[in-house]
Symmetry: C2
Subunit: 329 residues, 2 copies
């Protein structure tokens, strides 16, 4: 295991401290937790937005804490859900009285723990709603989910909810746009290499030098097909093609070509070239494209493609300014 870390069992605490130290005016660590919260939260009359989950997916989710995006990200151990009490603390920290929306990637642990936190908060009189994101079309069920997994499309859900909350939408309105984004987003990923959880020390699976895995999850979950590495064009065509089969994209689309951790930006742009060509061929207008690392899996090599179907409301929200470090727009 080659990593630049101190104690493998202390990576999350170290990371959160280093993250907060990078933007001390904008974000803070909630005492006694590994939740990262906007320093000026709660904002008067604004719905609070909380997401989070296991760490190892940086910049998700703490990099999306900022004006126009999240108010708090609750950071669990690597690939492990944060505990209900940590989520509860974050909810309390961001509630202005306007209520709190939880944006949850669809993993059993996350869903359970965020729901338990919601119950604790509701018992204290805080209004809490939730939206579950399950954009990964690769598998219908997995060892860690009931239903599809939530992956990079979650970032678009953050963005839409964040923009609506910034405009002082009500809790119901913010939930509605988040749910609309979640309903209209699809993703699929592939990997060339596995990744190694620091505390484990060895990779979660093995791939031969000439192999890639299609439909991989972001926690090293098995994909749906292992095959010989083909070209970037083939990879783009397979991922994009499956997404287009799964959902009837009708409007303008937002595109995300996401690196899983160690894939050079050069390769992501090469994939994007083909994705754009495929969408043009289908007559789909691309409203905005995002290429980079948005939802990673430690140092996994690979990428995912995400398409979001946009109506006028979602286009307008996508254009609202955000100053979250990992999603300035």
């Amino acid at each position: 295991m080659k990593k630049i870390i101190n104690d493998p069992n202390q990576v999350v605490q170290d990371m959160v401290e280093g993250l907060v130290a990078s933007s001390p005016n904008d974000i803070k660590q909630l005492p006694g937790t590994t939740a990262v919260v906007k320093t000026d939260a709660p904002n008067a009359n604004k719905v609070g937005l909380v997401s989070g989950g296991g760490s190892g997916h940086e910049p998700a989710h703490a990099g999306y804490v900022g004006k126009g995006m999240l108010d708090a990200a609750v950071v669990g151990e690597v690939f492990t859900s944060p505990t209900p009490d940590q989520v509860f603390e974050a909810i309390k920290a961001v509630d202005s009285g306007a209520g709190v929306l939880l944006i949850i990637k669809n993993y059993t642990g996350d869903v359970l723990n965020f729901e338990m936190a919601a119950e604790l908060a509701e018992a204290e009189g805080i209004r809490v709603e939730k939206v579950i994101v399950n954009d990964d079309i690769a598998v219908e069920e997995s060892s860690s989910t009931t239903g599809r997994r939530g992956i990079a499309g979650t970032v678009f859900v953050h963005k839409m909810a964040g923009a609506k909350a910034e405009q002082r939408g009500t809790l119901e309105e913010v939930k509605a746009v988040a749910a609309k984004a979640a309903t209209n987003v699809r993703s699929m990923g592939m990997a060339l290499t596995p990744c190694t959880v620091p505390a484990a020390g060895t990779p979660s699976f093995q791939l031969d030098e000439n192999e890639m895995e299609i439909g991989i999850g972001i926690h090293g979950e098995a994909g749906i097909e292992r095959k010989v590495i083909s070209t970037a064009d083939d990879v783009a065509a397979e991922l994009t093609g499956k997404i287009l089969e799964d959902f009837d994209f009708t409007g303008d689309v937002a595109v995300m070509v996401n690196g899983l951790g160690s894939t050079p930006e050069m390769e992501l742009y090469i994939v994007n070239k083909k994705v754009q060509a495929i969408l043009a061929e289908k007559g789909l207008n691309v409203y905005k494209t995002f290429v980079g690392e948005y939802m990673t899996s430690l140092e996994m090599a690979g990428c995912s493609v995400t398409l979001l179907n946009l109506d006028d409301e979602l286009k307008e929200l996508l254009d609202v300014a955000s100053d979250a470090p990992a999603f300035r727009s």
Copy 2:
């Protein structure tokens, strides 16, 4: 070699097309070249800013093309200088009559080719100035440089020059702030793994499973010391310590903890935690911190630390808005 590419000899052309396709309203490819230019260049009365160099360092430099940063980035083959005629075309494309500043990382090939381009442009009556960046303190000479190498500190030079040019500084004024930033910036890097140039197909060097290399270059150049992997704190202390020995930082500083390609953001934040602690101990005030991938070396694992000494002018310029995709501020 595990890469998501098509033809290894076509990666740069594919990448540039995919990059331009991601932001077609903001950037364009200069016909017949692999130069990436702002669509609205030249801007009236604005000094044009051109940088570039070999590719493989993405987002450097094409990700820094945007309002408040560069007007053009000339993209060479992987780790290979762009040709003088490509640079010349970029200079012509961005000159508004206010002149053009070339920001060049200190490698013999880049310096020669950018200087030849400058001569071609001057022969056509375009005023051209240049600033050479040599922020890497690891080696005083190398196989590809006379003097120190230019690495991640170049991004700060882009930023300062870009801000001053946006404020419609004269060519002399823009050159002066770029030169001031170049004089006041120091960097040093380390690697856990080498990287593989697509057309070569094999890594440029080997490191054992327990080894790291300190003082590495961004083209797989040898470092100054190979040793057993230590902790993130040790790495941060060694890089930061050597930088602080090399330059007398007196004012506020800007910090960049830069990933070389495949290092998870988690690890960069862990390094940043220690860097900030060291600077606090020295009584140096950190004005702004940047953690992420700014100047990479394909899929190399490792990081670099950059410190920039700031006076009031540089602080003000650092705060000027930029909308370059890789450096929004």
